[in-house]
């Protein structure tokens, strides 16, 4: 329990000037390792960073990006960014050595599972990003790791969408679907055979809306506890502007502050 309270205490937000120290480029995405000169605040799995895009006149506001990995020892974080429009294109084009101004950690992460839980982490497209660090926090939690281990179910349109699989395999078992069958089982994540074979009592999902809605549907049908991470458009990222609201059973809630992770029971879909 101590770690819980500790966490609440240390989720202090900070504005940090990071330097890109490593970079790996993919088809239309990039993995950036950012190093801070100062100590990192403690970060929970599922929290995000709000990144300023310098030198892009099409990106006035910051861009919210999930925290993909954290190394407290070296004071680095990893961001896995997919090119969407100008802002993310600019971020993906940044060279090693570039400076990146980041506000973090923001939002509430995923709820930590209990020892006996059978958990499944479902990621679609770039939604796989937060699941890696969340899996790590589960395994490194003060309490012993969930007994059955971490299972990832990752979906993409094609093989190209599924990056960094080795990283995921280091943290647990990886199951895959692709729409075109170029890797893993063909179809959507919700069509994977593991749904029939594995015992699951907690789902954590992040990905495109249709995928999360499909997962939520499966969870409801099967009566499985389920958290999803939403990606509403944000302006401030810290709960000040009320732009990013999701209409929930409790009314309009800020995704940046009350989320991005929500239990599907709170949502209207």
């Amino acid at each position: 329990m101590k770690s819980r309270y500790l966490r609440l205490y240390v989720y202090m937000k900070a504005i940090i000037d990071f330097i890109i120290v490593e970079k790996q480029s993919f088809q239309r995405a990039a993995l950036l390792k950012l190093k801070s000169a100062t100590q990192l605040p403690e970060i929970a799995g599922g929290q995000f960073a709000n990144v300023r895009v310098d030198g892009c006149d099409k990106a006035y506001l910051r861009r919210p990006i999930s925290i993909h990995d954290v190394d407290y020892h070296n004071n680095t974080i990893d961001l896995l960014i997919q090119e969407k429009h100008e802002g993310t294109k600019k971020l993906c084009a940044l060279p090693v050595g570039a400076k990146l101004n980041v506000v973090l950690p923001l939002g509430n992460g995923f709820t930590m599972p209990e020892k006996d839980d059978n958990i499944l982490l479902v990621g679609g497209g770039i939604g796989i990003a937060p699941l890696l660090y969340f899996a790590k926090t589960i395994r490194k939690d003060a309490r012993p790791c969930v007994s059955t281990g971490v299972h990832f179910l990752l979906g993409g349109r094609t093989q190209d969408d599924l990056m960094l699989l080795d990283r995921f395999r280091n943290e647990g078992d990886v199951f895959i679907t692709t729409n075109d069958g170029s890797m893993g089982e063909k179809g959507f994540v919700t069509e994977h055979s593991l749904w029939n074979t594995k015992k699951i009592n907690k789902i954590y999902a992040c990905g495109p809306m249709p995928m999360m809605k499909a997962v939520a549907k499966v969870a409801r049908e099967k009566g499985i506890w389920c958290e999803v991470s939403l990606e509403n458009q944000m302006a401030c990222g810290i709960g000040a502007c009320l732009c990013c609201v999701e209409n929930t059973k409790e009314g309009n809630l800020c995704v940046c502050k009350e989320g991005p992770v929500f239990n599907i029971e709170r949502l209207l879909w």
Partner: protein
């Protein structure tokens, strides 16, 4: 030591930097980034008599060096503010000012009267210029008679500093400011957002749920500065300038144009620490230019 204190009627700011309503939450959201006691004041989120859910999502669109919003005054109502939020924020070592909105004059008056009773709120900012609500809101702010009515009515029940926030969506903002002054405003603040719109060419739909929204951010600064200049030449009460301020230099420009104090809005989203930096930057400017008292800058434009 540069003197930075700004004295308005019944409201003393330790420096001219305040944060704009709707962009700084209740201050708490920024406490990790800014030492709130280094600000002249915090103007909290627009508060209405009754709870409001605001407008549907999407409420935001990015524009060139700016953004549109149609939040629509989501808030839990003045009673919730008084019971739940006020106790948390009343002891900030800065002025906590409440931005008050309504759909009709009675609502404005009722909300203002309740806030009048709060010891630690030295001022309200009357928002007669919100473009994102169907009834009231901007309607009051675009005619002299509208602004006169609501200001007069609130003036009768509100006994502390009454700041009236003006809409830029008018032909002659000086006229509107004069009407507010005549009706008893202690100061006017401007500008609220410019009414704008964004369309997604791919889907052919408006980006915002309400079709139109309020434009703010760096892009509006030239318009805001012009209006502050026009209004400060017209009225005798102090003018609070805002609209696109993103740096200490921007803030100095508003002071020179005639603003006695300034507010920082959208820039808080880009740099959550900006308000404190602007407060410090104003002092640095004064030191560099041999200005002993910030008040010397107010209206100091050389023509």
């Amino acid at each position: 030591m540069v003197k930075t204190e700004i004295k308005l009627k019944g409201l003393t700011l330790k420096n001219p930097v305040m944060t704009a309503s709707g962009t700084f939450g209740y201050g708490e959201e920024y406490a990790d980034f800014v030492d709130l006691s280094e600000l002249g004041g915090i103007i909290v989120k627009g508060t209405t008599l009754h709870h409001r859910e605001g407008n549907p999502y999407p409420r935001m669109a990015e524009t060139p060096m700016g953004m549109l919003n149609c939040v629509g005054l989501q808030n839990k109502g003045v009673d919730y503010f008084i019971e739940t939020i006020y106790p948390r924020i009343r002891h900030y070592d800065t002025n906590v000012i409440v931005n008050v909105s309504g759909s009709n004059i009675d609502d404005y008056v009722a909300a203002a009267a309740k806030i009048d009773a709060l010891d630690d709120v030295p001022a309200i900012e009357l928002n007669v210029s919100c473009p994102n609500v169907k009834q009231g809101g901007m309607a009051f702010g675009v005619t002299c008679s509208g602004i006169e009515q609501v200001t007069k009515a609130v003036r009768e029940v509100y006994h502390k500093h009454l700041m009236v926030k003006l809409s830029p969506n008018v032909t002659n903002i000086a006229e509107i400011a004069l009407a507010a002054e005549a009706a008893g405003a202690d100061s006017v603040s401007l500008i609220n957002t410019l009414l704008g719109m964004a369309i997604d060419a791919e889907t052919r739909k408006p980006v915002l749920s309400m079709v139109t929204g309020g434009l703010s951010g760096a892009c509006v600064k030239p318009v805001a500065l012009r209006m502050v200049w026009q209004v400060s030449k017209a009225v005798k009460i102090p003018v609070i300038g805002l609209g696109g301020i993103s740096s200490a230099t921007d803030a100095i420009e508003f002071l020179l144009a005639g603003a006695s104090a300034i507010q920082i809005g959208t820039a808080n989203f880009i740099d959550p620490a900006i308000s404190g930096k602007v407060a410090k930057g104003i002092v640095e400017y004064c030191e560099k230019h041999g200005v002993e008292d910030v008040n010397e800058l107010v209206g100091g434009l050389i023509l």
